[in-house]
């Protein structure tokens, strides 16, 4: 070991044994760039990263940056920072100066000017750099150094996260890594979310291997927009897992949807991925009124992208009813479904509307329109939305409604060339089975049914008797 390395160790030991009292950053200082993860990252990059990372590497064994209390690093920082601040960089450290700490800081400065920050990683990697390395229990404790050096945490020393490891040799069972120590906002968001009690380590499940976490805008990152479906799908595409947690297995539905296609096939960054609707750290159940997927919130959630449709929907009867608190009124997903994103032009749209408007569906079923659509093919045929509109559905009494009496000639005329005032008197939802609403049609239908049953009964009896007689005579 070089003399410099020895010096470092001696200093570190004295620090870790509490001979040097740490400085405490005021908790209230929310502007502290180390107080949130992105701030931490940018600060460490902005501030002559090597010096800072040296501090964190060496010191954060006891005092992780955002929990620093009277740490020498702060003092060192405060000594360093005037130069940085002149360059318009934010100050990161405040605190009282103490003589002991001052000495420590001076030593630190000395070290910093000679020692490359990476050295501590190198120390750890001299053992853990073997990716096949295993502990006594057989767990892999190897670290892919290349992956780590290109990761978002490459500037941090190992002990920034592995806080309980203070010296070598280190204990066999170090304390688990707590991401929360830096990423407090994310951790706070996780509280109360559906993933709060995930048995697995919640951070790495989504963000990937601990030593290879990439920034979100890196296309290889597990949380890069185009990779999010696959990341969430690791659990939510698992049918067994979905069943265990009473969830619909929505991953395949999403992947086959227009959103999933846009993400997976077209690489469209603006297409909705899981996070777009569910959020990331604070994912709530759709039954939670605060969730973006709660029924009343869905128009706003979808409307983040589909703003024009949202405006139409909000003006229509469904949007008005939902806004008024009627949770039986359909929101976007009731018609389009949440993950499959059904195409409203398909024949399924009719039963979809009919699941609420049952009487109307029943009478529609009696019409030629329905019969045509049942038989498929490529014939354009009137379905619910062709007459009533789609997102901005208005009551027939509204003069703007396509089914308002004043607009019927135009609406029907879209298909029926030559539609006129007489023609549009046809009632597309007449119910010949209802004596009260359609007495005339009821009578006509009754007469026809009586005619059929009368004729058929007479001749069936006639034929049956004839058959019996013929057989009797032949016998």
């Amino acid at each position: 070991m070089s003399p410099l390395g020895k010096l470092k160790k001696v200093w570190a030991k004295s620090l870790l044994s509490g001979k040097i009292n740490p400085v405490r950053w005021p908790e209230s200082e929310t502007n502290n760039p180390l107080n949130n993860s992105s701030g931490l990252l940018s600060a460490s990059n902005r501030l002559n990263g090597r010096s800072l990372s040296l501090f964190t590497t060496e010191i954060s064994g006891t005092t992780r940056p955002r929990r620093l209390s009277s740490s020498p690093i702060a003092i060192a920082g405060s000594l360093l920072l005037p130069a940085q601040q002149e360059n318009g960089k934010p100050a990161i450290a405040k605190g009282s100066l103490r003589s002991k700490a001052f000495v420590a800081a001076c030593v630190l400065l000395l070290l910093a000017s000679f020692s490359p920050a990476i050295q501590s990683q190198t120390d750890c990697l001299s053992c853990h750099g073997d990716v096949t390395m295993q502990d006594a229990a057989g767990h892999n404790v190897g670290v892919d150094a290349n992956a780590f050096h290109s990761s978002v945490h490459s500037d941090l020393g190992c002990s920034a996260c592995h806080a309980s490891i203070k010296a070598y040799p280190h204990p066999d069972h170090p304390q688990p890594v707590k991401c929360v120590s830096c990423h407090a906002d994310e951790a706070a968001a996780l509280v109360g979310s559906v993933h709060e009690h995930s048995a697995d380590q919640p951070c790495t499940t989504c963000h990937g291997t601990a030593h290879a976490i990439l920034p979100k805008d890196n296309p290889k990152s597990a949380v890069y927009p185009l990779n999010i479906p696959a990341t969430c799908g690791k659990c939510h595409g698992d049918a067994a897992m979905a069943k265990q947690h009473h969830l619909a297995n929505v991953y395949p539905q999403y992947m086959d949807s227009i959103h999933g296609y846009a993400v997976s096939q077209e690489g469209l960054l603006v297409a909705a991925n899981c996070e777009s609707c569910h959020g990331s750290h604070h994912v709530l159940s759709h039954t939670d009124p605060k969730s973006p997927t709660f029924k009343a919130a869905i128009p706003a959630t979808c409307g983040k992208c589909h703003a024009g449709i949202r405006t139409q929907y909000t003006a229509g009867v469904h949007g008005t009813a939902l806004a008024a608190g009627n949770l039986n009124a359909p929101s976007c997903t009731d018609c389009h479904t949440a993950h499959t994103i059904g195409q409203p032009t398909m024949a399924q749209s009719t039963p979809m509307c009919g699941s609420c408007h049952q009487a109307q569906l029943s009478t529609y079923r009696d019409t030629f329109h329905s019969q045509v659509s049942n038989l498929g093919s490529y014939v354009e045929v009137a379905r619910c939305s062709d007459c009533h509109g789609e997102h901005e559905i208005l009551p027939a009494s509204d003069p703007r409604s396509p089914v308002n009496t004043a607009n019927l000639v135009k609406t029907c005329g879209r298909c029926h060339q030559g539609a006129n005032a007489g023609f549009v008197k046809y009632s597309p939802h007449a119910n010949p089975h209802n004596r009260h609403t359609s007495p005339l049609l009821y009578t006509i239908r009754l007469a026809m049914v009586l005619l059929i049953s009368g004729v058929m009964s007479f001749f069936l009896i006639h034929s049956l008797l004839w058959l019996i007689r013929s057989l009797v005579e032949k016998a």
Partner: protein
């Protein structure tokens, strides 16, 4: 010979349809004309278009059924279904108009009295009522089998149900086809009513033809397995005596029986008749089964 004209419908383009009377041969079975070539053609056109109309119409009527959707898909979808339905409808309409024209000419121009009244007429008369009652008595073994004239009462019913059926179904169909046009002078409810009437009347026509007509004309023990008279136009002397004894006796008494004698239908025609007839019956029975099952599931 005014009565001869009622028996043998003369169509200029098709020529006289009675064959030259062969010399009597006591050892050989004699054949008698029952239907003219024109009538046979008309029946052929009618049953082909009727099957087409029924197959496509019932598919539309029972469009929620899987068989209907598969059939529609198989033949090219709804566009094909509706095209075939309209094609058959127009063909049958033209035939119906031809029939009306033929009747009009025979009544108004040729002044044929027997067409509207009498033993050779399709118009129901008192004898038909007596035949119905007599037949029911015979069914219960309370009397002899009635001696039928040229057209049995059930055959007259077949004729008139088709006659009125074509008017009702045809008119309601054209109102639906040309809705905006008829909308100009029909009340609003009529546009709704035509669909009910069209569908229900057609349902009656289909179920009646595919059950009662098939049984009466082809499947009852007397005629089983197939009465080919409507295809060949000829019946044997034995069949004539058994099925239409009154007509046989009447013609014999009037000395006109020999005038209706014809040659034995060629073998190919007999075979063709059986194959065609059976095919039509099978299609009809299949449609009947599908219709009845779909109707009672509605």
């Amino acid at each position: 010979m005014p009565d001869q004209a009622t028996l043998v419908e003369e169509i200029p383009s098709l020529g006289p349809l009675t064959a030259a009377v062969p010399p009597p041969d006591p050892g050989r079975e004699r054949f008698f004309v029952r239907f003219t070539l024109a009538q046979r053609y008309m029946h052929a056109i009618m049953f082909v278009t009727f099957l087409g109309l029924a197959a496509t119409g019932l598919t539309i009527r029972f469009s929620t059924n899987t068989w209907a959707q598969h059939f529609a898909l198989a033949i090219g979808g709804f566009g094909t279904i509706l095209f075939l339905h309209k094609l058959c409808a127009v063909t049958l309409t033209l035939e119906f108009l031809y029939h009306l024209q033929n009747i009009a000419v025979r009544i108004l121009v040729r002044k044929e009295k027997g067409l509207l009244w009498g033993p050779d007429s399709m118009v129901p008369n008192l004898k038909d009522l007596k035949d119905i009652l007599g037949n029911f008595r015979w069914f219960f073994g309370r009397g002899p089998r009635p001696k039928l004239e040229r057209y049995a009462y059930w055959e007259k019913f077949d004729y008139w149900s088709v006659f009125w059926g074509m008017i009702i179904i045809g008119l309601s169909g054209y109102v639906m086809w040309f809705g905006p046009f008829f909308g100009r002078f029909l009340p609003g409810w009529a546009l709704n009513a035509v669909q009910i009437v069209h569908g229900e009347e057609a349902l009656l026509a289909a179920t009646f033809i595919f059950s009662i007509h098939f049984i009466n004309a082809h499947l009852r023990p007397d005629n089983f397995p197939m009465d080919t008279t409507i295809f060949t136009g000829a019946q044997t002397e034995e069949e004539f005596k058994e099925r239409h004894p009154e007509e046989y006796q009447r013609l014999l008494a009037e000395g006109r029986l020999e005038q209706t004698v014809t040659t034995k239908p060629p073998t190919w025609l007999m075979n063709f008749s059986k194959v065609t007839g059976f095919t039509a019956v099978l299609i009809g029975v299949l449609l009947l089964v599908l219709t009845v099952s779909a109707y009672f599931r509605e």
